[in-house]
């Protein structure tokens, strides 16, 4: 009914957070990591990693919003959400769907993103260890 609003809200928060972190990172300069052999590698900034989450959340909720338009659950005129004009029962059902499916959607995207963070961190570590061999 309006489950896409939950990941969309998270996307707004994540976008603002990305802007703030980006500014801080610019001030701090480029972060590098040094291996035991003295090799320096540029680290992928966290703001860029947060961008992955942003793109997944924005892209997913945009395509989901389209699906809701397709099914007539979202309309281009007030009150925009069909359920909002159908009485308190429909509103309650809509809120329930947002609290269950919507929250789960936002959570699964976030969990996958956290998984990607962990994988990228281990890849960075591995690449750093492999550097002397490349030399």
């Amino acid at each position: 009914m309006a489950c896409f609003l939950v990941p969309m809200t998270e996307a707004i928060v994540a976008t603002v957070a990305k802007k703030v972190i980006e500014k801080k990172e610019k001030k701090a300069g480029v972060q590098t990591v040094t291996s035991a052999d003295g090799f320096k590698m540029e680290k992928t900034p966290f703001s860029q990693k947060l961008g992955w989450l942003n793109k997944m959340l924005w892209g997913g909720s945009a395509l989901l919003a389209f699906e809701h338009v397709w099914h007539g659950e979202v309309v281009p005129y007030f009150p925009f959400l069909t359920a909002a004009g159908e009485g308190p029962e429909a509103v309650s059902e809509m809120l329930h769907e947002m609290a269950t499916a919507g929250v789960c959607m936002a959570a699964i995207v976030t969990v996958v993103w956290i998984g990607m963070l962990l994988v990228s961190k281990s890849l960075e570590k591995r690449a750093l260890k492999a550097l002397p061999a490349v030399k």
Partner: protein, 105 residues
């Protein structure tokens, strides 16, 4: 069916993105993220529907399947439009910029 179409789109786009690396001038990453994000969200939708319908979820009526396929293809088309718009606005190869700002001799 919509989930299936989106997952296929996500997998194909990711494979093309991987093959083209390190060249990212086509901004294929945007398309990958979009499809994967939507796929994850539709996966949750599918799980909730399965919890409600049970095994009947896997045997949809032909009419519903056709409608879902139509929706899936429309979703892919919308994602491609969004991607093209982003590509043209960012213009990583400077093609539009070169076209619009032709130097006068």
């Amino acid at each position: 069916m919509t989930l299936l179409v989106t997952v296929f789109a996500a997998a194909i786009t990711t494979a093309i993105w991987y093959k083209r690396q390190p060249d990212s001038s086509m901004k294929l990453g945007v398309l990958c993220w979009m499809f994967w994000g939507a796929s994850l969200m539709w996966l949750i939708d599918a799980i909730f529907e399965y919890a409600e319908l049970g095994a009947a979820y896997f045997t949809p009526a032909l009419k519903d399947m056709a409608n879902d396929l139509f929706l899936g293809l429309s979703v892919v088309a919308l994602a491609l439009i969004i991607w093209i718009v982003i590509l043209l606005i960012r213009d990583p190869k400077g093609v539009l910029k070169a076209k619009l700002l032709k130097k006068k001799e």
